[in-house]
Every structure is written in C-alpha cells, then in structure tokens.
C-alpha cells in the first residue's frame, strides 16, 4: 500500500475516534430530549462539573475552599491525600444523582407544560449556574485528570502498520492514541448497556413510555417526576463518562463545556431522538472534519475543524431536517 493511502486510513481512524468522543456528549442530549422534549443546553457543563467533582474527590480538595477561606480567614485547600479512583467515581455519580433530583425539584417541576423554548431557556440558565457553581466549589484552575486510563500513541499499532507500506517506501507507521481507543470501547459498552436497560427492564420500559406519550404514561401509573429524575441521573452518568474521557484527553478546564456545542451538528445529523443516530452522527462529523482538513483544509488555510461540522449540519438541514434516524415529521392535513 502506498503511504498516501495509509495516511488516509490514519486520518479516517482518528476521525472515528474523535467522532466517538462527540457522540458521548450527544448521547446525553438525546436521552433527555427523548424523555422530556427538553433540549438540555447544560449537558456540556454537566460533563465539566462531573469532571471537576471527580478530580476534586480524587485529589482530596476541600469543596468551596475559596469561599470558606474568604469568610473565615482560614487557609484550607486539601483535606488529605484524596481517595481511591473507584470510590471517587461512585461519589461523583452520587453527586450527579443529587443534582438530577435538585433540577427536577427546583426547575422542571415548576415548568411542566410550558413551551419548549422556555424549558430551553431554563437549561441555559442552569448551564451558567453550574459553571459558576463548579468554579466556586472546586476552583477555576485547569486540572489534570488521571483515572488510570492509558494514553499516548500506540507503538504496537505503529509497528504493525509500518509493515503495510510498500517495500522501500518512506513510512513510519500510523499514530493512534490509546486513550481514544479506550474511549471508543467504553462508549460502545455504554450504548449497549443503555440499550439493554431500556429494552428489558421495568424502568427502561417506563422511560420509553414517557418518551412516547406523557398522557398514556400517566394512565399506566408512571410518575413523570420520578422518571425525570432517573433520566437526568442517566444523563448525569453519561456526562460523567464524557467528562472523564475529555478530561483525560485535554485536561479539566472550562473549554470542556464548549464541546457541547460540537454535539449540536452531531444531533442535527443523527436526529434528536435516536441513540444510534447520535453515535453515527458523531462518527460522520468526526471523520468528515478530519478528512476535510486533510484533503481540502491545506488549500484554504487550514483550521477547518472549527467550522466544518456546522456547515455540514446546515447542509443536512436542507435535505433531512429530521436527521438521519430521527422521527419523520409528517404534517397531517
């Protein structure tokens, strides 16, 4: 195989990996949108908040240290050496469930039957609140996330691919980040688990029922409010996974919440109501933007990854407004 062709494969592979990371965030959006028709703008911030909390627990930070120091004139920052990663993840999950409950109790409950745009505005408010709250609780500095996932280029893969090139060609093998491979594996497991849960359990069935028809769900004895807490908890769990992956990749920092915006074109492609759609949409965006940058990017000055996804989404909207897998919008006359 010629080095050019191998380079192309490498670009596509890395695109797929990046795509899975986008899909992870998009998944959280889809879950909440399906169950409650709310476009949760705060999903990205939830990922950031989960990552901050996890690192905080792990390293043994004192929550609200700045606030405590400012009020009491103390100088606390850490309460010890931190804790075991597994325990920290469990505790963070607990925090996310608590958060889901609070959101239902103080926001959603009061907005039942309101227009979607009002709920959307509420989630924007929520996003800004959480951003500030996360800062206040754990500090605004960039943190390093290490949950023990391996990272860095894979030498094994480099060696394997080196032999693929034609004899005598100047080729040094493909680069692939091990962390990305892990992220892909975890994302796939997550989707399988979510699918099984929603297909074969009582609560899963209740989730699908609520997503399908609120009135009918009430009639069979499903409490919408408790289902919303469950949905937001699951979305919180997905946010935690996304936060861990993105945090391990690029550090826990404010820009993490902006990856939520990248999930938008993914959703437009995949459809707001489809879990497989979120995955495939993510992959298309990931591969698309890497390929575009590789092939055409150089000719027009590069850095196309910043905007390519949005333009692609715009293009898509013209032909399939409901997305690849979304429910068809049929107007009955």
């Amino acid at each position: 195989m010629s080095p050019d062709f191998l380079n192309l494969i490498e670009v596509i592979l890395n695109g797929l990996m990046a795509g899975i990371m986008y899909a992870l965030v998009a998944l959280g959006f889809v879950l909440i949108f399906k169950a409650s028709g709310i476009f949760n703008y705060a999903q990205g911030v939830m990922a950031l908040f989960a990552a901050l909390t996890l690192v905080g627990f792990q390293t043994g930070q004192v929550p609200f240290a700045h606030l405590i120091n400012a009020i009491f004139g103390t100088n606390v920052h850490h309460w010890g050496d931190g804790m075991n990663t597994f325990l920290a993840i469990l505790l963070t999950m607990g925090v996310m469930i608590l958060f889901a409950w609070l959101v239902e109790r103080f926001v959603l409950k009061h907005l039942v039957n309101q227009e979607p745009i009002i709920l959307f505005m509420a989630t924007i408010g929520l996003a800004f609140f959480m951003e500030g709250f996360g800062d206040l609780m754990w500090g605004a500095d960039i943190k390093n996330m290490d949950v023990g996932l391996p990272s860095g280029g894979s030498f094994w893969w480099e060696d394997v691919t080196k032999t693929w090139a034609a004899e005598g060609a100047e080729y040094y093998g493909m680069y692939i980040d091990v962390l990305d491979v892990w992220a892909a594996g975890i994302a796939i497991l997550l989707v399988i688990a979510l699918t099984l849960f929603s297909q074969y359990t009582k609560t899963g069935r209740a989730l699908r029922a609520v997503a399908d028809d609120h009135q009918a769900a009430l009639t069979v004895g499903i409490s919408l409010r408790s289902i919303w807490v469950v949905v937001w908890s699951i979305a919180g769990f997905v946010a935690l996974v996304a936060g861990i992956m993105w945090g391990s990749k690029s550090g826990v920092q404010f820009s993490l919440s902006l990856i939520a915006l990248k999930a938008l074109p993914v959703l437009i492609l995949g459809g707001f109501t489809s879990i497989p759609g979120a995955i495939i949409g993510g992959l298309i965006i990931g591969v698309g933007e890497k390929l575009f940058e590789y092939t055409i990017g150089g000719m027009i000055g590069g850095a196309t990854e910043n905007w390519f996804a949005y333009v692609l989404a715009l293009f898509f909207l013209m032909f399939r407004p409901q997305g690849l897998f979304g429910e068809r919008i049929i107007e009955r006359v």
Partner: protein, 267 residues
Amino acid sequence: MSASADRAAKIGDTMLEVKDITLSFGGVKALTDISFDIKEGEIRAIIGPNGAGKSSMLNVISGFYHPQQGEVWFNGKKRGPMKPYQVARQGIARTFQNIALFKGMSTLDNLMTGRMTQMKTNLFWQAIWKGPAEKEELEHRERVEHIIDFLGIQAIRKTPVGRLPYGMQKRVELGRALAAEAKLLLLDEPMAGMNLEEKEDMCRFVLDVNDEFGTTIALIEHDMGVVMDLSDRVVVLDYGQKLADGTPDEVRSNQAVIDAYLGVSHD
C-alpha cells in the same frame, strides 16, 4: 334463577361514589353538581349528547381534572386531590376516546407497561437484571401473554402499535388496561369508529372481562343498542347536568332523556 336475578347477585357494595362534582374551565361549566355511584361488579354506562361532560367526568375520576367542588369516594374512603399516576396505582385503569397508546412500542411492550403498577423490584436489581428482576419480568410476561390470548391478538404481539388499524389499537388499549388488573375499568367510547363486527367483538370482551375477572366497568358509549344491552345501570348527562340515573329500561322511558336526545319543539 332468572338472568337478571343472577346479575343482581353479582353486584356488590358501592365501589366509587362521586358527590356534587362541579368542574369549570374559566367561565364554562363542564359539570354541575353531579352525583352518582358505581357498584362493585357492575357495568355502569355514562351517556349523553356531545359536550354533555361525560369525558370530563371520567377525567375527574382518573385524576386528569380536579373539580372545583365535590368529592370522590373510592372503596369507602374520601380521595384527596390525586395525580393520574396515583389513581392508576390505586387500581383504576382507563382507556381514552382518542387512544393513548405508546405508538412506537410493540403490542407486547404496551401491555407490559400496564403491569407497571404491579412490579416491585428496585432500580438496583433491574440494572443487574439477574435475580429478582428477571423472575418478576418473566412472571408478568406470563400474565400479559394470557391477556394477549384472551383478546386474540397473538398475531400482532411484536408489531409497533402505531402501525395497527384503529380497531386493533382500541383492542390493545383495552389489553393494557386489563394488564393493570384494575378493580375499576373506565372505558371512554371503546367502540367509537368501529364497524359492526369489531363492535360485537368489543362487547364480548367487555362482558367477558366483567364476568370472568369480576372487574367493575364504567363506560361511555354513544351506540344506544350497545349501552342498553351491556349495562346494569345508566347515568345520563346533558350540558353538565345529570338528567337521569337508573336501569336501561328506566332511562329509556324517561321523558327528559328522550327530549335531550330527540330534541323538543319549543312552541
């Protein structure tokens, strides 16, 4: 023993009673001082011309509407303001005039949601799936299969209900209500829009359910032939007021009812 005496023996004490229900939307009065009762084991019809307040009455009973005045008594206890899902958990199941099924889910799944009120395992076991959750799931699956047999809908078990014809959807909705094993079943126009054959099937199901499971049934229906054949007692509403209440024969010969249905000349 005659058929009617046989019937009378099956009917027990008052199960549900509404007292002086008044419901209004803004300035429009949908129901005014309505009182009637439903006895255990009976088939109770609520009839009346369009806009009489029949569906509103059903919505009050099932917790979708909250009346401004009046009380609902169920099983001898006065009921506070309740959410529809709480009413469902108390053992009152219902169907809707314009079908409220989960259109994207299969017939089987729709019926399984009907078992929701009966299932007990917690989220932890469900997430693990093995153990109690699996056992429970299988148990309830068996009950649901019985209902599928009973309604003769084996052929559409796996079909998404959105794709079924109207008559079948009505039948699935009845199935879901049956799956709840409710004490009281509220049917809002179960035969609307059906052809004769489908109506006959549905009548048979209603009678069988009442007979075999002893389920108390309250139904709204426009087809007078069906109502007179099926029901033990009939309450007639018109413009939100109660016109008459009694056996089909009594109601049929009531002058106010005849006037409401046929119209009176105002001369």
